[in-house]
Symmetry: C2
């Protein structure tokens, strides 16, 4: 299957498992000029700048006016130069940005002062080419850690980036931020607000080194809503907690994670405390959850998509601890891969997670099929279990019987292919 | 290579990387009746009881008198029935035990009241067969979680276990506790104390589900030293922290972990605060470290043995956090597997570990070869690096430049074979 068809098929499959919030409608991407996918007020571009041998590796998202901007960044202490620079620019511009420039193929991480200078040059070159102030530019990089960024190639690519840009170039943009991704990730919705429809769209990358503790990959979103940076940040942060912070591929957290949203303000307005604000938040969560789930579907070597639900924890924090421990357990992930109804590994992971419970009160379901009932009763039918776990996507629910806490995270299986991809990634 | 030769070769290789403490000498195992390997006062036995189709699956370690006993157990909340029962027996007998009975092939975990009754029956049957009180028996199980223990087969095997027992049967015993292990694990030393030589010997199992938070596998040790249970517990606990608690294969912690040592008291005496006590502690640490390292060498699918040293952390706790995060990172482990000098993944793992540092002060060595120097200077020779990382065993050292804290852990690579083993273990 071609990458674009693969993405479309993954989106259909994920949508079939979920219900869109009321007032939120999906935007179907199209290449026709009269059917825009991206919110008005933005142009996008994605080209090859020669950082990678062949594939697209440089992306620009440009707002035609200063856009309200909110961003979440990695918490990794070895955060990359572009992360540091973008934080400074965001503060200097008081959350009113014009552009995001992002390269793949090189993370500009662990590159010290030189790396910071290079990130600065990337912002300055972008600003010069598009008539912006450098401080209005967010910079992002993804790829190999510890190698100098080929800034001259990026500078030389500015004219090409400019001529390739347009309001329909979201596909190119999504492709240009891919690393080990096998398909580009994109999604958009409309949300009906009192002042009319607002659109929210996003692209993301990420495939390995995925276990979020802020953002964990790159995601760039836009909306035409009119919203101030503080309220936008509140919505981004809330949506991030249940989307990009609720996925794991391998438990590793990147040095370069960033999720940014730019609001052009050409559309309906969203103010604090309004019903519109709640609706906008739900719509943003919908887009970010889809992008997050697409990352798991495309996890390195993944063949299974599992929604892991923890219920009955003492509180939400303990539920999240339990969920992430199960979702990251290599033994659980290999059992998912091997289509083995190995509930013992699931409760063993819950048992070391730090969540509190009495083991006799645990219950486990695969989709709606009870696997373990309270009292450690595992009298399930292997045949019925196989019907669930042989599917490409299913839900594992664990109830701890210890309170109202709950959490949902998404994970994938661990396959030989993960080893193959990561045993030779750098070279 | 035959399992026994494989074990012997792994021991030689690990010993070549370490220096025995002064006063400690290795005991070379032999099958000759006149060259004992195990401390005096104990008999061992290992047979097939029909829990597994063919291989040995039932082990007995018997002391000819009540032995001072110390034990560390798993901290997993889903701890198995034999763990619960053994804790009770240890308390009831005030740390004076006569025997350890252990089966492989079934963990008797997540088996509820029935499991506890079955563990009790296993202790009672052993006690009846060998003329002991049931409360003098420690019970351990390892294998699949959530299946009823075939207690009748274990009961029926008691006469066979008795007739197969002897002071030279440590090989059989080590084999009988194997699960996915590819070779039996055993080691013994003599330590010169003021009252003469004391011997400490041990067997262990463990290959996957290895990331300790107390013990993390099964280990049964004996000594002929005369030592009270409290002091023995102090030494076991201290040695455990730097041996079984310093290894990881996959980050998973088992429901059944237990490390126990029985001291017959037929040999020289060890009292609190003496120089002998210090020497005894070092000797015990030597034996437990060897058993722990053998578990890593035999990690599921492992092809590399890596000693990971963290130095310059703010304190030992932060050093340990950093060490365990790097040692468990799938990206680091796949890079080790792929012989890729990917230092970026190492510092990215340190960066998310919770340890504090400034990234410009990080330094990384592979054995004695500097890979990253402070100031993020990674000007190493790939060729020189390859000479180190193509070896079967080497050391990765990371200095955080932030204090006196240090930690050492041992880990292995993550290979396709791990996936193969664990994708189909239960069936």
């Amino acid at each position: 299957m071609e990458p674009f068809e693969k993405a479309a098929s993954a989106i259909e499959s994920l949508l079939s498992r979920s219900i869109l919030p009321s007032g939120v409608t999906r935007v179907i991407p199209s290449d026709r000029q009269d059917e825009p996918f991206w919110p008005a007020g933005f142009t996008l571009s994605g080209i090859n700048a020669g950082i990678k041998p062949q594939r697209k590796d440089l992306m620009l998202l440009l707002s035609d006016r200063p856009a309200s901007t909110a961003t979440v960044f990695t918490t990794n202490l070895c955060c990359a130069a572009p992360v540091e620079l973008s934080k400074r620019h965001l503060a200097a511009s008081a959350g009113r940005m014009r552009a995001v420039i992002c390269n793949s193929g090189n993370a500009n991480a662990a590159t010290g002062i030189k790396g910071l200078q290079d990130a600065g040059r990337m912002a300055a070159d972008t600003a010069a080419a598009f008539g912006l102030s450098a401080e209005e530019v967010l910079v992002a990089s993804t790829g190999v850690i510890g190698q100098a960024l080929p800034v001259d190639r990026i500078a030389a690519a500015m004219p090409g980036l400019k001529s390739a840009s347009g309001s329909q170039q979201w596909r190119d943009a999504a492709e240009a931020i891919m690393t080990t991704d096998t398909f580009p990730k994109f999604f958009a919705v409309d949300v009906s607000l009192s002042g009319g429809k607002a659109r929210i769209a996003g692209i993301a990358n990420g495939s390995g080194m995925i276990c979020p503790n802020m953002a964990t990959m790159l995601a760039f979103l836009s909306t035409d809503a009119s919203i101030d940076p503080e309220l936008l940040m509140k919505h981004l942060s809330a949506a991030n907690a249940v989307s990009f912070n609720a996925i794991t591929v391998d438990g590793d957290t990147s040095t370069n994670d960033m999720a940014a949203i730019l609001a052009s303000g050409t559309g309906p307005s969203v103010v604090t405390g309004s019903d519109d604000s709640r609706l906008f938040g739900e719509a943003l969560r919908t887009v970010m959850t889809m992008l997050a789930q697409l990352i798991v579907v495309d996890g390195e070597g993944a063949t299974k998509f599992v929604e892991l639900r923890i219920e009955g924890a003492r509180n939400d924090d303990e539920a999240r601890k339990a969920a992430m421990t199960v979702a990251n357990s290599p033994l659980v992930k290999t059992a998912i891969h091997g289509e083995d109804a190995n509930w013992g590994r699931i409760i063993a992971a819950v048992g070391r997670s730090g969540a509190s419970f009495i083991q006799e009160e645990l219950a486990v379901w695969f989709d709606a099929l009870p696997i373990l009932k309270p009292g450690l009763d595992a009298g399930f039918s292997e045949e019925e279990a196989m019907k669930v776990i042989s599917k490409g996507a299913y839900t594992i629910t664990v109830s701890l019987g210890n309170g109202p806490g709950r959490a949902v995270v998404w994970t994938c299986d661990l396959s030989r292919r993960y080893i193959e991809i990561n045993g030779s990634y750098r070279s």
